[in-house]
């Protein structure tokens, strides 16, 4: 029998006494591994050899994969109780075969892939994870509060340079996107509401509608969501990378409190800048609405602005600013906490970043709902 595939040739010679000689020549490497494996499997079909000799005199080259195939053949013969020997093995081939440890193929993985034990197991594991996550967050809140108390008592302990840097990153660098989104939201709201209000001849209500919504709800919410996406993710990625590179450990050993050193400047900067961005966002929302009012509804710019200003009170502005400060604490706090949670490699940084943004948005919505109820009763 003669098989040829790729660069090797396998000839099988069998005498009357079922003594088999396998003559292998050419290149035995990864290129022809699949067919070599198939040929060797086929060799055992319908054959009961009493002795096997693998003659490697014609082998031009052999890599470790080819050597592995030969050693597997030897093992299989031994398992079947058939005497086996290699013939004409050159020194280099012996070297390659000597490198391989076939025992490695039989060692079971030290870590077995965990099989799920059903819905209750999953439920329990998830609950445990959530509880542990909640506990971590609470511990961090405690640490952050301690650090903030320390800052209030000793403002000189704050790294103000870092605070200004983050104020620029969160605030100034965020201006363009906040402007664009707020303007467009103003335009969309004014346009959509005018379509409905036109039917009742009530287009003059477009201005109060847009202004009230932007100042009370959409301004703080949209700004917070944008800051969560832009800066929250950046905070957690920054701290996460520092965790992996042992930079946080280095800070600890140098006697710094990592929360005070890394988280406090970010939280302070956010608390200062996010309310400013919120005012800015509300203003541009009103400008967007005014563009529709002036260009599409024949309203005057002065009249539109006057109606907008009349639509909200100082209480609305103040509550909106307080709300945005709370959002800022939530966004920067959860982002830093997720960053400090990072263990392992680059993928953990990605997970932390995603988790920071998702958690921040969830907390923003939750806090906003709480504010809606509280403000209703206060007012």
């Amino acid at each position: 029998m003669k098989n040829r595939s790729r660069d090797y040739t396998l000839s099988i010679r069998e005498d009357d006494g079922h003594q088999v000689t396998l003559l292998i020549s050419g290149r035995m490497d990864l290129m022809g591994l699949d067919s070599l494996n198939a040929d060797l499997e086929a060799f055992w079909m319908d054959r009961t050899p009493v002795r096997i000799t693998a003659d490697l005199s014609g082998v031009e080259s052999m890599d470790s994969a080819g050597a592995m195939m030969m050693l597997r053949l030897e093992e299989r013969a031994q398992a079947a109780g058939v005497p086996f020997e290699f013939a004409h093995v050159s020194e280099p081939l012996r070297g390659i075969m000597g490198l391989l440890n076939m025992q490695a193929l039989r060692i079971d993985p030290l870590l077995q892939e965990k099989e799920s034990e059903g819905i209750f197991d999953l439920l329990g594991a998830t609950a445990q994870r959530r509880f542990s996550d909640f506990r971590q967050v609470m511990i961090f809140v405690g640490e952050l509060l301690t650090a903030m108390t320390h800052v209030i008592r000793r403002p000189s302990a704050v790294r103000w340079n870092a605070v200004f840097l983050y104020m620029k990153k969160v605030g100034v660098d965020g201006f363009p996107i906040v402007t664009l989104i707020s303007l467009l939201i103003g335009v969309i709201m004014a346009f959509m509401s005018s379509l409905q209000l036109k039917q009742f001849g009530a287009t003059t209500y477009v201005a109060p509608l847009v202004a009230f919504a932007m100042v009370r709800e959409l301004g703080p919410m949209m700004t917070a969501i944008l800051v969560a996406g832009r800066s929250g993710s950046a905070f957690s990625a920054e701290i996460g990378s520092m965790m992996i590179n042992e930079e946080v450990d280095a800070l600890t050993t140098m006697g710094f409190d990592p929360v005070q050193f890394l988280a406090v400047p970010k939280v302070l900067a956010s608390v200062i800048v996010v309310p400013l961005l919120t005012i800015y966002s509300a203003f541009f929302g009103i400008v967007g609405g005014m563009m529709v009012g002036v260009l599409g509804l024949d309203l005057t710019a002065y009249g539109y602005l006057q109606q907008s200003i009349d639509s909200f009170q100082v209480f609305d502005v103040v509550s909106s600013l307080i709300k945005s400060m709370v959002f800022a604490i939530l966004i920067s706090g959860i982002a830093c906490q997720r960053g400090f949670q990072v263990r392992g490699g680059a993928d953990a940084v990605g997970e932390a970043t995603t988790s920071a943004v998702v958690s921040a948005i969830f907390l923003i919505i939750l806090a906003n709902s709480a504010f809606a109820i509280i403000l209703y009763y206060i007012h």
Binding site: P92, G95, L99, L100, Q103, A104, I107, L110, R343
Partner: protein, 266 residues
């Protein structure tokens, strides 16, 4: 490995290589050859351009002037097809092991195989187990890189680098960050692969103990000269060199390595 190839055939030729970053000249007019089957070590103090030179040899950097031929192919000029044929033949062990964090060890090691060859999953699994066995990591296939120590990551990186049985293996400071016992084990593995498979090894190192143990030939780079200041067999360089920098590097460090059994840190 082609059996009849072993001999004094150059596999890498570096000709008048100059490397600049902006106005900063790192290497100037560097020329040397690496022959098939040898363990070739590039030594020198920190910042002398060892890693830059290696990255030029594997095509990660383009030389500012001069050329690098790997298996006769100019890796900066020849076609992408020619380049990829070179890439099949080289393996690189990076300083940190460079394991991909989101993949298990088995997936990491199988990566070059599954990208470049169509093999059945059973065969891939077998090859992966065998390669992990060669670097004493049998059984660790389901571990994630983050769960491994620095030395284990390096060994796993070596398993991945040699999964395609490359004819040339590059190592960037293989013993850095390893304890002397683990470093010696890695040296043993490197030597074993070189002797067993005839793989050409290019090693960037400043671990003198390791150089003495495994190097067939050494070149020494110097930051001031921006090039090679010595070339030869380590023992001969130590005995015969007239250059005080070479004498200082080899003698003092070798003595230190002998007395302390530790790596020379530069």
């Amino acid at each position: 490995m082609i059996l009849q190839d072993i001999g004094r055939q150059p596999v890498i030729v570096v000709e008048n290589l100059t490397m600049r970053f902006g106005d900063d000249i790192i290497l100037q007019d560097v020329s040397f050859k690496v022959f098939r089957g040898e363990i070739f070590v590039i030594v020198g103090g920190s910042g002398c351009g060892k890693t830059v030179l290696m990255k030029n040899m594997i095509g990660l950097y383009r030389p500012s002037a001069g050329r690098v031929l790997v298996e006769g192919i100019d890796i900066n000029i020849d076609s992408e097809k020619a380049l990829s044929s070179v890439r099949y033949r080289i393996g690189v062990l990076f300083q940190s092991g460079a394991m991909i964090g989101s993949m298990s060890l088995a997936e990491n090691v199988a990566l070059p195989l599954s990208e470049q060859r169509r093999l059945s999953p059973a065969l891939i699994d077998m090859i992966v187990k065998m390669k992990l066995g060669m670097v004493n990591l049998a059984g660790y296939e389901n571990h994630m890189p983050a769960a491994l120590s620095g030395g284990m990551k390096k060994r796993a990186g070596l398993a991945r680098a040699m999964v395609m049985d490359p004819t040339i293996l590059f190592f960037d400071e293989p013993s850095s960050g390893l304890d002397p016992v683990t470093a010696a084990e890695l040296d043993h593995t490197i030597r074993g692969i070189n002797e067993g498979m005839g793989t050409t090894m290019i090693i960037v190192s400043h671990d003198l103990a390791s150089i003495q143990n495994i190097a067939h030939r050494v070149i020494m780079l110097d930051k001031g000269d921006k090039g090679i200041i010595a070339e030869g067999v380590p023992a001969q360089l130590k005995e015969n060199s007239d250059d005080p920098r070479v004498i200082q590097f080899f003698n003092r460090s070798l003595d230190e390595a002998k007395t302390q059994g530790t790596a020379y840190g530069g």
